[in-house]
């Protein structure tokens, strides 16, 4: 089993839920309302909306200007779901397809291993000894 974390734009939440449901993955967990996130661009800046890679000099330059007018974090939604190994690619593809706008800030997906799942209602345990 794998746990898939996705950080996405807030306005894509409904579409992502619908797409995952249509692909056969209705179960998921999400953080209430929003989380704050930022990527290599260090938030939102009106003077330069996007640059490819943050170098140390660039960071220094940004930090020196900090406080003028910049959004240090961008509100995002964070959702995660646990799926079988075989389904990871399908879920990742669905999330990418639904959320891809081609602009910076589309978000990220992380895939992490999960050792055991326990259903509370029944006490049923699903264990996986072998990775992959």
């Amino acid at each position: 089993m794998k746990e898939i974390y996705a950080v996405i734009r807030i306005n894509k939440m409904q579409a992502t839920k619908k797409a995952l449901e249509a692909a056969g993955f209705p179960a998921m967990t999400a953080y209430t309302y929003r989380v704050m996130g930022r990527g290599k661009q260090m938030g939102l800046r009106p003077d330069e909306l996007s640059f490819p890679e943050t170098s140390k000099e660039k960071i220094k330059e940004i930090l020196a200007k900090e406080g003028k007018h910049a959004m240090r974090y961008v509100p995002k939604r964070l959702l995660y779901l646990v799926v079988e190994d075989a389904d990871v690619n399908k879920v990742v593809d669905t999330i990418i397809k639904t959320n891809q706008s081609g602009h910076h800030g589309d978000g990220r997906i992380f895939v992490c291993p999960v050792q055991e799942t326990i259903q509370i209602r029944t006490g049923e345990r699903i264990t996986e000894t072998k990775p992959n």
Binding site: G37, G39, M42, N99, R108, P113
Partner: protein
């Protein structure tokens, strides 16, 4: 890759984030959470508060950078008193950038 989840005092979060940025680790997610530790919360004038507000910083880093990041977080989040928080490190197998659809950090 490793996922680093640091639960820190909310008032220390910006210090930690600033120090991480100076060292070159700018990308992260910040989440408001409530939690308690071994002390079962805090008791003030006979009333026990067991859900203390904390900030969770969630970042995914390359394995060779994990020690540096943990050091930075510890240095900047520490007051020496109970409630400074905890850092958890867990494995991440894959990472995707949604904009490009590419694998990797």
């Amino acid at each position: 890759m490793k996922m680093i989840r640091a639960i820190v005092r909310p008032e220390k979060a910006e210090e930690v984030v600033g120090a991480l940025a100076e060292a070159g680790f700018v990308a992260l997610t910040k989440i408001d959470v409530v939690g308690r530790g071994k002390q079962k919360g805090i008791e003030v004038e006979g009333i026990r508060y067991d859900e203390l507000p904390k900030t969770m910083l969630l970042l995914v880093a390359r394995e060779e950078n994990v020690d540096e990041i943990v050091d930075i977080i510890m240095e900047n989040a520490r007051t020496g008193r109970f409630g400074d928080g905890r850092i958890f490190i867990s494995p991440v197998e894959e990472s995707y950038t949604i904009r490009t659809g590419q694998r990797g950090l």
